[in-house]
Assembly symmetry: C2
Homo-oligomer: 373 residues x 2
């Protein structure tokens, strides 16, 4: 039936300096290749418990309900919304980039009356702006992106949790491009629902979306009048497996759990503060180097993500061709922009195992060679 | 913050003879450990194209819309329903086990008026029974499980597609425990939407759910009045990435795609017919051996799955203890029953790389030793 011969897998040794996936640490690759265990094997359940403990440490939370969703970061986003929205609920979604817009889209699918608090792509919200929006109208839920992968902006989190809670709403936070590379203080910031992805600063393969829910969030879930509209992401079902009952819900991926656990072990061995400092130092090195190449960084220093840098392509340069040359001649992946930033910027990730001094040096030197013609 | 030291990953070398995951072939494990590529890298896109071609061959279909959903088999089930159900649509769900019930649950969440055609767990439906149900009432969609993982029954597929189409409905088929181990003839059977999982007869890690949709299914999707209620599984969004546009939707897992592609390569190298014959021969060997141990097979030969065997635990034997001894003393995993079959049966999978003569011999010998006391 099939006559074509598919060749042996032999991927080029790419250095992944885009917005994710990041380069996977060899220890994580090896872990994923370990022989599988069944999803109810006591050995596997012990590994799940360890993974959850490690996730709590990285999320800086005591939340009992902490687990990796069996999907990518977007599934994490959807889990963070569909469990807490009932038809007719008012949701305030702060939109200053692509992923805020995606949250608004998702919240609408679950029947929320969505209000968008909008800012130009790349800017961030002040606590006062969110406070003013909440004074105009009551909301069940406020959704915010901490690290906007589309723009490279880092949302300051001071006071926001208190403001949202004073009004009785839940705070949902997208930490897809921050967790494991920049501080995510779920408890200190009073975040009710936070989610991330496995393939960025955590340094694992894509396919899992760590999620954590505060007791206040769980109370809202238990107080729902209607069934969660999404079966796969319904926390009531998921917690039958992730809780003490350990009842079958779906077949959690052993390979991905092995990988996530190993990537979390690497984080804890390094230490959260040391890891954040490494990400910051390598980012600063990159920023200096880009400026020395006369390139303009897109986001002001005060709100710049240490994990993903956006930089304007010089006028007259075909940014796509530069990326193609980086890929084809140097085996380096960086990304372009999308939405209003398409064709205008490069997005350079220094996340997890990709955040290394030698990678910064190589990228800058390669860019210099290419831009010199 | 964390003082506990988490030990190096060192899973016991389990032989996985339960309902999935199955033991992963060493070539698939190695593929998953290859260095990652970005999700827009031309090399990765070529691997996706190859994976889709291989999936079409295994599904025995020409369907253009064929892709692995980034979730487990249950996400595949939800994708197969949420894209084709609008609120108020009538759905006929054939329920003769746990997964038929799950389909009915999911269909209801998307607003379907669900009618359940029910049979005792372990029995199968005749085409005439489905025809009679369709004569009583018009339906938008008919959902059926080909291989019921909870019971071990194999649904015959003759005439069903024609009957469903004569009435103008779509046929949705669960192939989670058949694809890659028993014939799944999507085009010949006129199946409109079929889905499976990566970790059973395909022999890969869990985390992907192959899905294929007929032109008739796609026409129904395009004719929807309402938006698909689920963002992550909305085929309209997924096909922006999986189609020629190759636009970002979510970060497809490179490691899992590597693994799935390798597992599909193994299937095509072996040949579909040879693979089905191997699964059948090893299952027959198992059935003979179980009967020689005076055990009673749960499903009559005519409707018995070749990939998953259900067998009654002997009266007076603690079936859970037998499974624990198989696991702890022999490193073999088999599963128990659930629902009405909890405590009554064992479920023994011979799927993918787990379907080998030596595994049958070992399991039977180990069971004999344990049952002898």
């Amino acid at each position: 039936m099939i006559t074509k011969i598919y060749r042996d897998l032999n991927p080029s040794p790419r250095l992944l300096l885009g917005p994710g996936p990041s380069t996977i640490h060899p220890r994580v690759l090896r872990a994923m290749a370990a022989p599988a265990l069944g999803y109810l094997d006591p050995e596997f359940l012990a590994l799940l418990d360890e993974t959850v403990s490690l996730l709590r440490a990285v999320f800086q939370t005591q939340n009992e309900v902490t687990l990796p969703i069996s999907g990518t970061g977007s599934a994490g986003m959807e889990a963070a919304l569909c469990n807490f929205i009932e038809p007719g609920d008012r949701a305030l979604v702060c939109v200053n980039g692509f992923f805020g817009q995606r949250m608004a889209d998702m919240a609408g699918r679950y029947g929320a009356q969505v209000s968008q608090l909008e800012k130009p792509w790349g800017e961030v919200f002040t606590a006062a702006e969110i406070e003013a929006a909440l004074q105009e109208q009551d909301y069940k839920l406020v959704a915010l992106v901490q690290a906007e992968t589309s723009t490279g902006a880092l949302q300051p989190m001071e006071r926001i949790g208190q403001i949202v809670h004073r009004q009785g709403a839940l705070l949902v936070l997208d930490c897809v491009t921050s967790l494991g590379g920049a501080p995510v203080k779920v408890d200190e910031w009073e975040v009710d629902v936070a989610y991330s992805s496995s393939q960025k600063c955590l340094g694992c393969a894509s396919g899992l979306a760590p999620l954590t829910v505060s007791p206040r969030g769980m109370a809202a879930l238990k107080g729902r009048q209607s069934q969660v509209a999404n079966w796969y992401l319904d926390l009531n079902g998921l917690l039958k497996y992730w809780g003490p009952e350990r009842a079958y819900h779906h077949t959690v991926s052993c390979a991905l759990i092995y990988g996530l656990r190993e990537s979390l072990r690497l984080i804890i061995e390094e230490g959260l503060e040391a890891r954040f400092a490494r990400h910051r130092a390598n980012a600063e090195q990159l920023w200096r180097g880009l400026e020395e190449l006369d390139l303009t960084l897109q986001v002001p220093l005060a709100h710049r993500l240490p994990t993903l840098t956006t930089v304007r392509a010089p006028a007259g340069v075909d940014e796509g061709e530069v990326r193609a040359r980086l890929r084809d001649e140097y085996n380096i992946e960086i990304a372009g922009g999308f939405g209003p930033l398409k064709g205008l910027i490069w997005r350079i990730g220094l996340m997890g195992f990709s955040s290394r001094r030698e990678n910064v040096t190589l990228l800058l030197a390669a860019l210099k060679e290419i831009l010199a013609g």
